[in-house]
């Protein structure tokens, strides 16, 4: 089981701030592909980034169930 923290507009699209995935996922790229496929409205955002253990991660970064994984839609602080 992989738990995702989900923020901002992504939380509205995915239907919650904590999402549990039972799929077998090994990389950030796989995770993004799965999310875009399962929640097509995410494709309308101008960026979708995954953070692994509180660091922005590129597609080839590997992920495990023990990692802290977050779905980061376009940021708008300030």
């Amino acid at each position: 089981m992989m738990n995702l923290k989900v923020f901002g507009v992504a939380r509205d699209i995915m239907g919650g701030g904590e999402i549990a995935l039972t799929d077998s996922i090994h990389s950030v790229g796989e995770l993004k592909a799965l999310l875009l496929n399962r929640y097509p409205k995410l494709k309308e955002l101008n960026s979708l980034v995954i953070a692994v253990n509180q660091k922005y991660a590129s597609d080839e970064v590997s992920v495990a169930e023990t990692d802290e994984i977050a779905v980061i839609p376009p940021v708008s602080g300030g």
């Binding site: 507009v9 509205d12 509180q54 660091k55 922005y56 080839e60 977050a70 940021v75 708008s76 602080g77």
Partner: protein, 143 residues
């Protein structure tokens, strides 16, 4: 000091925290909530943060600025929660030896906060609401 807070920001406290006897300049940016966006009346904004990561990202931005402009002191405070027009959303204060460095460092820090720190805001208008996506897209490069 880096603070993500649900309470109103004490601007003077942020300035005092940044101030240093070694500095000839303290530069302060205060971001406030506007009462209209695209001719629509803003009732309030709702800010949220991925707090632990936001603090870590701000720390990295500060470290870079401190090194580049030889900062003598600094402090950043960002609000979360519901903010009405006129309220202070973010304060950046930096102390530098000379004014030029203080202006450049302050601008660099607020620009970087807006570009890459995981904080979000939703605008609530008369008759609608929208997540803001005004900042440039975040692009993550492979190491």
């Amino acid at each position: 000091m880096i603070k993500i807070t649900a309470k109103p920001i004490d601007v003077q406290k942020v300035i005092d925290t940044a101030s240093s006897l070694g500095a000839g300049a303290v530069n302060v940016f205060i971001g406030t909530v506007r009462d209209s966006v695209h001719n629509k009346h803003v009732r309030w904004l709702e800010y949220e943060a991925y707090e632990s990561m936001a603090v870590a990202e701000i720390r990295m931005i500060i470290d870079e600025a401190a090194h580049r402009w030889q900062l003598q002191g600094w402090a950043v405070s960002h609000r979360v929660g519901t903010l009405k027009p006129g309220e202070v959303a973010v304060v950046v204060a930096v102390a530098a030896v000379h004014r030029k460095e203080s202006f450049e460092a302050c601008q660099f820090i607020i620009d970087a906060i807006k570009a890459k720190v995981p904080i979000w805001k939703k605008e609530v208008f008369e008759g609608g609401e929208a997540w803001v996506s005004a900042n440039p897209p975040l692009v993550i490069h492979s190491n």
